[in-house]
C-alpha cells in the first residue's frame, strides 16, 4: 500500500483533560475511499479523538498525517483547508437563514461588495444534484426537516472542498427512513472518491455500510477489524469489553411490594413524536432495576417524567400506590423520591454554592433548617458536617465551594443529600459517569445498601458493565419502549448489547 492510499493517519495520539486520559496513544488509519467506523461506548474517547482531527483540541502527544504529510492541526480552519469536514451531532446552522446562506457562512463569495448569492446557490444546487441530496438552496433552515438539515451540513463540508468527512453520531437524531437515506448518501460520497469516518455505537449501521471498524474502549484502541470478517456479536463484545475484575459484592435481592409503578406512560419528545411510548414497568422494594439502552432512546424523558420535570401526555405513575403523575418536582420529592440526576453540574448542584448550601438544596424549607423564614445555618452546617463524615466526602471544609471539588466528591455530595432524605424510591441516572474506579465502587455500594434497606432503586445507565454489576433486573429501552427484560444471571453483555442496538434476537424488525 502506498502512502497516498491513506487519507488520514493518526499515530500515538494522547490527550489528557486535567489528569484524566481521554485518548491513550491512539493510532488509526483511514484509507482513501473507505467508510471507517469508530466504535465505542459513551465516554470511550471517540468524540475527543475526532475533535483533535478537526483541530478543536490539540493532542498532548502524537502526530496527524493528512495524505501522508504530517500536519499540526491548530484550528478547524486548518482542518478545512486540508480537506477535512465534520458533520456534527448537533448541527451548527443559523435557523432563519436559507440553506445557501448557511453554507457560505464564513466564506461568502463576493461580487464587488455584494455577496454573490446567485452564484453560490448555483454551486449548492450542483453539489446537491451530484450527490443526489435533493436540497432546496433557497429554503430556510427552520422550514426543513432534521434529515434535510443534516444534508445541509454535508453540503457545507463539500462546498469547502472536503475529501475526508467525519460524521459524529449522524443517525442519533434521524428517523429510520432518514437513516437509510443517509446511509445511501454516504455510499455515494465514497463512490465519488471521498473518505468517511463514522463515529457511532450502533452496530447495525456499521455492519451495513462500513468497510473497516476501529473499536475504542476507555481511550484505547482495542482493535481494527474488517467488517466483512466480523459479526455484531464480536463487535459488541469488543466494544463493551470483558467484565472488570472487581464485582460488587451483594446478596440476592428480596423484592417485596411494588413502590414505583409506571403504567402506559407516554411522553412527547421534540416535534411531537413519542419519546416514551406506552411504557409500563414497576420497581419493587428491595430491588434494583436497571434500564439499559443507548443514549437517546427515551432515558432522559423517562426520568424527567418520573421526577416531575416534564409533562406526561398520558398514562400514570404511582409512588407507593399514590398517583404522582404530573405533580410538581417538590411534591414528588416529598412523597419519597430521591433523584441523582444525569448531569450533576447542570441539575444536581449549584456549583458556586458551598458544600453546606448544596446539602439543603431540597430541604432548606423543612422546619429543621428553616426557622420563620431564616435559614438556621448552625443546623445546616451540622447536617453538612455529618454527611461529609458519613459519606467520606473529601473537601477542604463544608464552606468550600463545590466547584473546587473533584467529580467523585461532587457526586458524593449529591448522593449523601439524596440518601439522607430517606426516600422510598431512588432514581439514579448515570450515577458514575466520569468517575474513577474507586468512586464508582462507592456509588454502587451505596445503591445496593439502599436496596438492602428496602428501598426501590431505578438505575438508568449507558454502561452495560454497571447494569450487569448492580441491577437485579434489567429492562432494555429502545425507541421509547421496553424491548426486553432479563436478569444479570441469565444474560451477558453480547446479548444485551444487541438488544440495546435494537437488534432483538429473532426479531430484527424492531425499528
Amino acid at each position: 500500500m502506498t502512502k497516498a492510499d491513506i487519507a488520514l493517519e493518526l499515530k500515538g495520539i494522547t490527550k489528557r483533560f486535567s489528569g484524566v486520559v481521554a485518548n491513550d496513544s491512539i493510532s488509526f488509519q483511514l484509507k482513501r475511499g473507505e467508510i471507517h467506523a469508530l466504535l465505542g461506548e459513551n465516554g470511550a474517547g471517540k468524540s475527543t479523538l475526532m475533535s483533535i482531527v478537526f483541530g478543536l483540541y490539540q493532542p498532548d502527544e502524537g502526530e496527524i498525517y493528512v495524505n501522508g504529510n504530517p500536519v499540526w492541526m491548530d484550528s478547524p480552519n486548518k482542518a478545512i483547508d486540508l480537506g477535512i469536514g465534520m458533520v456534527h451531532q448537533h448541527f451548527k446552522l443559523v435557523e432563519p437563514f436559507t440553506v445557501t446562506e448557511n453554507i457560505i457562512l464564513g466564506m461568502e463569495p463576493k461580487k464587488g461588495v455584494r455577496i454573490d448569492i446567485k452564484g453560490a446557490s448555483r454551486k449548492v444546487k450542483e453539489l446537491s444534484e451530484q450527490y443526489k441530496l435533493d436540497v432546496d438552496p433557497m429554503a430556510t433552515i427552520e422550514s426543513i426537516s432534521v434529515g434535510m438539515q443534516q444534508r445541509v451540513e454535508i453540503i457545507k463540508t463539500l462546498y469547502r472542498g472536503a475529501d475526508i468527512l467525519i460524521f459524529d453520531e449522524p443517525t442519533a437524531v434521524l428517523t429510520p427512513q432518514e437513516i437509510s437515506e443517509l446511509l445511501e448518501i454516504m455510499k455515494r460520497l465514497v463512490a465519488e472518491g471521498k473518505s468517511i469516518v463514522l463515529i457511532t455505537h450502533k452496530l447495525k449501521e456499521i455492519m451495513e455500510i462500513a468497510d473497516s471498524c476501529t473499536i475504542i474502549r476507555r481511550g484505547k484502541v482495542i482493535e481494527t477489524v474488517e467488517v466483512a470478517k466480523t459479526n455484531p456479536q464480536q463487535l459488541a463484545e469488543k466494544m463493551v469489553g470483558k467484565a472488570v475484575n472487581f464485582k460488587t459484592e451483594k446478596q440476592k435481592a428480596k423484592p417485596q411490594e411494588a413502590l414505583l409503578e409506571v403504567n402506559d406512560l407516554v411522553v412527547k419528545g421534540a416535534g411531537g413524536t413519542h419519546a416514551i411510548d406506552k411504557l409500563s414497568f414497576s420497581v419493587r422494594a428491595g430491588e434494583i432495576v436497571g434500564i439499559a439502552g443507548v443514549d437517546g432512546n427515551g432515558q432522559t424523558e423517562l426520568i424527567e417524567a418520573i421526577t416531575g420535570m416534564c409533562t406526561i401526555h398520558s398514562g400514570e405513575i404511582l409512588l407507593k400506590g399514590k398517583r404522582i403523575t404530573n405533580q410538581s418536582p417538590r411534591m414528588i420529592s416529598e412523597s419519597g423520591m430521591s433523584h441523582i440526576p444525569q448531569d450533576r453540574h447542570k441539575h444536581g448542584l449549584v456549583l458556586d454554592f458551598t458544600v453546606s448550601e448544596n446539602t439543603v438544596l431540597q430541604t432548606y424549607y423543612h422546619p429543621e433548617i428553616n426557622q420563620h423564614g431564616f435559614i438556621n445555618t448552625k443546623a445546616r452546617d451540622a447536617m453538612a458536617t455529618r454527611l461529609v463524615q458519613e459519606f467520606d466526602v473529601r473537601t477542604s471544609g463544608i464552606d468550600a465551594k463545590v466547584r473546587s471539588m473533584s467529580g467523585g466528591n461532587q457526586q458524593k455530595v449529591i448522593i449523601a443529600r439524596e440518601i439522607d432524605k430517606n426516600p422510598q424510591v431512588m432514581i439514579a441516572a448515570q450515577p458514575t459517569r466520569g468517575l474513577d474506579v474507586g468512586a464508582i465502587e462507592f456509588v454502587h455500594q451505596q445503591l445496593i445498601a439502599q436496596r438492602d434497606q428496602g428501598k426501590a432503586v431505578l438505575l438508568v445507565s449507558f454502561e452495560l458493565e454497571e447494569i450487569l454489576n448492580v441491577a437485579d433486573r434489567i429492562l432494555v429501552l429502545f425507541g421509547g419502549q421496553i424491548v426486553g427484560e432479563t436478569t444479570p444471571e441469565t444474560t451477558n453483555d453480547q446479548e444485551l448489547g444487541l438488544m440495546m442496538a435494537g437488534k432483538h434476537e429473532g426479531n430484527d424488525s424492531n425499528e
Binding site: M309, P341, K346, G348, V350, L361, F374, I375
Partner: protein, 356 residues
Amino acid sequence: MNKVMSIFKNTAVVTPFVAIIIGLLLGAIIMLIGGYDPILAYESLIIKIFGSSYDFGEALRTIVPLIMSGLAVAIAFRSGMFNIGVDGQIIMGSLGALIVGTQLSLPPLLHALTAIIFGALLGGMWGALVGYIKAKRGINEVITCIMLNFIALYISHIVIRTYMPQAGTQRSEMIHSSASIQIGWLSELMGGARIHWGFLIAILAVIFYHIYLNKTKWGYELRAVGLNPHAAKYAGMKVPNVMVRTMFISGVFGGLVGTFEVLGVFKYIAINSVTSGLGFDGIAVSLLGGNTALGVLLSAALIGGLTYGSQGMSFGAEVPGEIIRMVIAFIIFFVAAPGIVRLFLKPLQQKLKKKV
C-alpha cells in the same frame, strides 16, 4: 499581616480598588492634556464634599438614591436578571408618593408613611410585572424593562396633567407639608441641606438586603436561581415565583428612590421628556459593588461623592465637571473588564508570592 495579604489576593475585592485608582489616574491624565491641574482639581473635589456641613448633607442626599437604585439592580442581578427598568420603577414610586402627598390629608407622620408605602408598592408592582412577564412568557426582561420605562414616564405625565397640574408650569402641584420627610432640625443644622429620612431607610435597606439574601430561605432560593436555575428547578424550587418575588423587591427599592425624591427633596414632579437616569447609575453602583450589600453602600458613596464633588472641581480648579463622569466611566470599564486589571495586578501578585 497575613490578613492584609489575603485581602490583596482576593481579586473580588482588589479589582474594584485597582479600577478606582486607574480611573482617577486616567482622569488626571486627561486633565493634564487639557491643561488643568489635576491635584488642585481632586483637592477641590474633596473640599466640596467635606468642606461645609451643607455640602456634606447635600452629598449624602446625592448618595441615598444611588444606594437604593444600586440595591434594586443588585438584587435582580443576584437572581440572574438584568433590571434596567429601575428608572420606570422610580417614576411609579414618585407618582405614588405624589398622589398620596397631594390628594390625601392625613396627620404628619402617618401621611408621609402612607405616601412612602404607596409609592414603594407601586414601584414594586411595576418591577413584579417585569418578573411575571419573564417567568410566564419567557420574554427577555431587558426589553420589557425598556418598554415599561417609557410607559411609566407617560403614565406619570397623563396623571399629573389631568389631576395634579400646577397652573402655568411644566410640573405637578406641591405635596402637602404633612407628607414631607425632610428632617427639619437636621436640615437647619446643616445649613439647609435637603437631608431626609430616606437616608435612614437606605441604611435599613442595605441591612435588609444583606440579611434577606444571605440568611433567609427566600434569599437562598434567589441565589440558587441566579447561580443555576436548572438545579433550582430540579430541587423543586418554583423558579417563576422566585423571579416575580425578586423583581417585586427590586421594584420596591426603585420605588423608594422615587418617593424620597418627591417627599424629601423636590416636593413635586417635573414633567420631563426623559427619565431620571438614576436607575442606570444603579447599574454602575451594583457592578462596582459586586452586588453585595457593603459593596453597594461603598460604591454608591464613591460615585455619589464624586458626582457631587465634581461641582467643586469646576468652581475651584475650573475643570469641567464632566471629567468626573469620565472617571466614573473608566472605573466601571475596568471593573467590567477585570482582565485588564488582572494584567496590572499580575506582576504585583507575583512579587507578593515571592516574598511569601
